[in-house]
Amino acid sequence: MTRAGTNWSGWCVALLAAAVVGMGHARGETAVAPSQEQELIAVIRSETPESEKALAFKNLAIHGSPACVEAVATYLGNERLASWARITLEAIPGGEASAALRSASETLSGRLLVGAINSLGVRRDAAALPLLEKRLGDPDATIAVAAAAALGKIGTPAAAAALSKALAAGKPDRDAVAESCVVCGEHLLAAGDAPAAVKLFDAVRRADVSEQRQVEATRAVILARGKDGIPLLVELLRSPSQRLFNMGLFTARQLAAGPDRDAALAYEVDLALLKSLSGTGETTLAAQRKPLVIDLLADRNAGGAAKAVQQAILEAAASGEPALRLAAIRAIGRCGDAASADGLLGTAAGADAAVVPAIREAIATMTADGVDERMVAGLTDADASVLPLVIGLVGDRRIGAATAKVLPLVDHSDPAVRSAALAALGSIVELGDIDVLIKKAASPRDDAEAAAAATALKEAAVRMPDRDACAARIAAAIAAAGPRAGVLIETLADVGGSKALAAVATAAKSGDPSLADVSTRVLGKWMTADAAPVLLELATTDAAGPYRGRAMKGYLRIARQFALPESERAEMCQKALAAAKDPADRKAIIEILVRYPHPATLAVAKDAIAMPDISDEAKAAVTAIEAKLPPPAGGK
């Protein structure tokens, strides 16, 4: 045996990725030139390091022909390189590789024999069947189990017969054989032999095997039987075993499910599931399982269930235990139609506090046609007790077409309706109708309405495509808003843009202390740098009354935090140094200069040395900035 030793540079053989292209095999033939294959064979026959041989095995796996099999197979007994050799042998088509593996299986033992058997299984080598059947009786259980697994993969009627026999005998390991039986049955089923598959699955179900193997076989037999498997499916759901019940839920998500399902069979399955919900006596499904079955029905019918299914779920949504009821409500949201949405609304009347939000969430997310129209209709014909819910859903579903109907409801006699209408308008109103919200925010009838209107106005204002037009409408209402003007100014800050900024600046300089207060506060948090000149003006004049200091801090915030051209930042700092009186502000300016080292900020810092109150800080800043700047060109 050769060893790579410690010289990993020895692994220099490249994979022949380009062989196909390089040799002009444009249609994907795998062959390399015989001489190249011979070179690779020579490598594995030589005393070259193992690492190079490993690479040769990989190359041969992709490009080798039966010609290399004999040389490769000599490594099946090599504990270090057998796994590499089997990479080649599993990949090469044709009988030669299989024959080599079968031949080796006659002489190998232990793990290496298991490896060879595994490869025969991967290759689905039917010729290995006698050999494998014999190995089922091997005294080494790992070998016998490997043989069973290989037979399962081969999956022919003869393999099934061998496995059935072993299963009945309980040798070598009944559970492992059972696993192979199910795999084998799947192959038979895929080949069109459903009766043989079902027979094998049933044999496992009857055998003394673990519950996991039982559930696998049961699932398989249900799916293989189709309609005839439904009773067994229901049996699983009623089983006292949690594992069997779990498999029932899992299997029901696969039986006649998905876009290509057999609609008639799917309906049969759904009806059986519904029946399991409503059974009595011994057929009653445990209460804690019912919500899970409802959830399953929704999964099976996502996007639209049959009428009878919807009706049954709706009934569960209207009554029953809380957990079942909530599950049913959620299910309607996923598989109900417009009529079911109406039905859910009907159940909302008088429902407790936990149920109404669930109903709202369910209807809000329904994708069925006609739900929006039902909600719009509900604005005029819904029971008064559920009208706020309907209005809320109009907002949740963003039904812009309902705006005209919702607008008058802001003056409804019921406070809950008024509040819901304001919130919905926040989600649906367009610019042309936003004045309704501005008016309510500026002149609310009480504090509750004030809060609702403020929230709605903000929701609406920030989503307006033309924010300047929106800002103009809000700004126009400030003068008449009296004590509520602050809400409008805060909304302008959320909207942003040049019109909003100008309106807030005007308010700040209006001479009204309360307006100056709120305006300088929002300007101090403004999200764009164009607020800087406004803030500097407010900081250097008496326009904002007592808020000059706040304006300066807002100005410095922009200089400190915003992405700006450094020359512009330096200029801001220079202006701030000229205007700022507060010692803390003046030191803060120097800190900004240090934070952004640049020739322009350096120049400002040097100028500041002449200012006695901050001279020391400026000198330190100059030193710090110069240390961070590259030396001048030509300097030392």
Binding site: A4, G5, T6, W8, W11, C12, V13, A14, L15, A17, A18, V21, G22, A26, R27, G28, T30, Q36, A54, L55, I62, H63, E79, R80, A82, S83, W84, R86, I87, L89, E90, A91, I92, P93, R111, V114, G115, N118, G121, T142, A146, E179, E186, S210, Q212, E216, R243, N246, M247, L249, T251, R253, D295, L296, A323, A327, E361, R398, S427, P465
Partner: protein, 427 residues
Amino acid sequence: MDASRRLRRRTFLGGGLAAGAAVAAPMVIPSSALGLDGATPPSERVRVAGIGIGRRGEYDLGCFLQQPDVQFVAICDVKEARRQAVKGIADKHHGTTECRTYRDYRELLDQQDVDAVLIATGPNWHGLMAMLAAKAGKDVYCEKPCTKNIAESLLLRDTMRRCGTVFQAGTQRRNLPHFAFACELARTGRLGRITRVYAHPAGMKAFSSGWLPEEPAPDPAVADWDMYLGPAAWRPFNSKTLADGFNFEKGGGLVGGGVLEWGSHCVDLCQWAVNDCLPPTDYAPPVEDQIVCRYAGGAELVFREKDWIPLGSCPVRFEGETGWVEAGDSGKIVLSSPELMAGRKVEEIGGYPATFHVRDFLDCCKTRGKPKGNADAACNAHIACHAANIALFLGRPVKLDTESWQFVNDEAANRLRSESLREPWRL
């Protein structure tokens, strides 16, 4: 042979060292419906065990431990230090000393008090361990990439179906609001007929794990090299390889790299955008940093290295006939038109946390529903990555028949569909 087309030793070895309504956080089944109000009764707890918990796994573990209905009961790792470290985390969290430790996964899978496993081993183990756990009756949360090749992807899907397993691939972006919203826009026709979906591969090189110089192997009780290798083809012990579990044998040791590493995230989202349909049928090799793949319906999946809007890592872009959307790990999305928002709010959660994904998994463990990163979806997304990698590796177009799962008239490509496992392991 064109020498430049060869996969040379440097790349073959290099893989082992390569770096590798309002839309809010996803709705889950309300706790009240599951009996989760207040303290979680034992009957409602999900008893979780970890297998191979390194750096990424420890993050996942933290997400699990945040959930009130999780009881972390056992850890299996080939490294003693990791076993003790994870036991310490779990015991400290639960205020007990009961977290059990195992070196051999088979002992752990035999435990009847384990409902689900978190698999965060090296990628060489992911798919096989997931299948072994499923056969043992456990539900599975498995880090990605979940499979090494096409055949393993299909077997993973079939095994999860057969065993009735709730499987969640570690593709946590499916449970983040902005990615979900972007995919929803594509799936529901808001962008018009989908013409192209873009994924970021983060590197288009084919990698394989290497063969480093042999060193004296440690005591298996400290670090079990044989178990570490697991189904990977044999190599001599080397401490660097042992330390590099995250990258070891990605893509079957042949064609891993960014197409699979990032692809299993980005392509997964693209697959969701096209309604988790079957993977593309036609795959072209890279041209100007793009791998273009075509679905049977005509839409294209494009692995693209550059020209992304800077929205963070793992960007995706979905283009339809009337609009487009782009999203990334910053939590932000960019739309062709603000009208696509239609007044909706999308919660911006940056940093791709897995918390919501874990919660989705745990809820499905109880309902037996399909989590977002289910095995069917993971299978399709991984196959798209593997097939693209094969086109990349072969340097020419390949065509995949998505019924037979064979490449059409292309034996070299078909030989890359699967790879033998080291004895005694099998799929």
